[in-house]
């Protein structure tokens, strides 16, 4: 059977579907207000949550600037955390703007698919950067929070802290290596393949 033959039968199935009357009024009304797993909506909710968290964290950090007196190490950690916080929040806002333009209702199919896949690739690469910066981020945040909450400068007790930091970093790297290929590279490969498919489709 070729596609052209299938076309005739396909049209005949319309009558069968109409007879079955799948969509009664009650069913449609229920469906209008229930939620399921739409990829774009999930992304959007995640980014909104991330943005709000970022803003709250920045507010807390900025309100505690007076406590960040002490060793150079504390100041550098504070500035580093602040820079990452600001960059992350601004980037979060940028992502929300991109997502708001993913118009599932009006965008042509191929274009929306391409935009969605590009966005997903951006997210994955962002997460990769955070993973790589992980030990630095965790360390800096720990130093800042210890100073903020307990008033303790960890650099005054560096001999005690370093073994813990070293252990945490080694553990982090071991877990990271395990997670990397399993999750992130597999996702990047998959998204790249999807993007290549879309680009091939859009080419004449």
């Amino acid at each position: 059977m070729e596609l052209d033959n299938m076309k005739q039968m396909w049209q005949k199935l319309d009558e069968t579907i109409e007879r079955q009357n799948i969509m009664n009024e009650k069913l449609i009304r229920n469906m209008m207000y229930e939620r399921t797993g739409n990829a774009v909506r999930i992304l959007s909710n995640t980014e909104h949550l991330g943005f709000i968290t970022g803003v709250l964290l920045l507010i807390v950090l900025l309100s505690q600037v007076n406590k960040m007196d002490g060793s150079t190490g504390v100041i550098i950690s504070y500035v580093f955390t602040l820079i990452i916080g600001v960059a992350s929040t601004i980037f979060g806002w940028y992502k929300i703007q991109i997502l708001s333009k993913l118009n599932i209702h009006e965008a042509p199919v191929a274009q929306l698919t391409e935009q969605t896949e590009r966005f997903r690739m951006m997210i994955i690469k962002e997460r990769l950067i955070f993973i790589i910066l992980g030990p630095l981020l965790i360390g800096a945040f720990y130093i800042v929070m210890t100073k903020m909450v307990n008033g303790i400068d960890v650099f005054d007790n560096i001999g005690v802290i370093w073994p813990k930091v070293l252990f945490a970093t080694v553990l982090y790297i071991v877990i990271l290596l395990g997670v990397y290929n399993q999750y992130y590279f597999r996702n990047i490969r998959q998204i790249k393949k999807s993007l290549d498919e879309v680009k091939a489709f859009l080419k004449n």
């Binding site: 059977m1 070729e2 596609l3 052209d4 299938m6 076309k7 039968m9 396909w10 049209q11 005949k12 199935l13 319309d14 069968t16 579907i17 109409e18 079955q20 009357n21 799948i22 969509m23 009664n24 009024e25 069913l27 449609i28 009304r29 229920n30 469906m31 209008m32 207000y33 229930e34 939620r35 399921t36 797993g37 739409n38 990829a39 774009v40 999930i42 599932i104 209702h105 009006e106 965008a107 042509p108 199919v109 191929a110 274009q111 929306l112 698919t113 969605t116 498919e197 879309v198 489709f201 859009l202 004449n204």
Partner: protein
């Protein structure tokens, strides 16, 4: 305000009932199993309802609904934890193909399976072709030129024909 909303709901329900075939076919082509079909069906209705107040008939209803259905189907992420409240009719679990005569059923199912295995954008293209849409309409929905539609469909037809010949040898 409630009256306007209620009128809008009624108009939307009527529209979906008139075009239920369209949604049903997209769902059957893109969803792998019964659970996914129900999930996707619901998501399409939800997306269409969200878009309905903004629909200003700049394109036909069919074009508008195809775009939403295909965009939703292609970007649908299967919900792992979703607990379905709505009771769906069993008919969603049964492909309408079983109403075809026996001698045509097997060939039809084979071709349908090959179409399901196509990349998702090519699948959309074939679906619109089977729905007897013009190249111009297909181009408008998919976001490519009408000539590109023709080229791609020829290529897909050849590909499916060769594959079918290999499988039936």
């Amino acid at each position: 305000m409630n009256q306007i909303k209620s009128q809008q709901e009624d108009a939307f329900i009527k529209l979906m009932q008139e075009h239920q075939k369209l949604v049903y076919k997209v769902v059957n082509l893109y969803a792998g199993d019964a659970e996914e079909r129900k999930d996707l069906f619901q998501e399409i209705i939800l997306q269409a309802w969200k878009a309905y107040p903004r629909f200003k008939a700049q394109s036909s209803v069919g074009t508008w609904l195809y775009r939403i259905s295909l965009n939703t189907a292609i970007n649908h992420k299967r919900s792992q934890k979703h607990k379905q409240v709505t009771v769906y009719p069993d008919v969603l679990d049964h492909a309408a193909v079983f109403y075809l005569p026996d001698d045509k059923k097997e060939e039809y199912l084979l071709l349908q399976k090959m179409i399901e295995d196509l990349p998702r954008l090519e699948k959309a293209l074939v679906l619109l072709y089977l729905e007897d849409k013009s190249y111009k309409e297909i181009a408008e929905i998919m976001g490519i030129s009408p000539s590109n539609v023709g080229t791609k469909l020829s290529r897909i037809k050849e590909q499916l024909k060769r594959k079918a010949q290999l499988l039936t040898q």
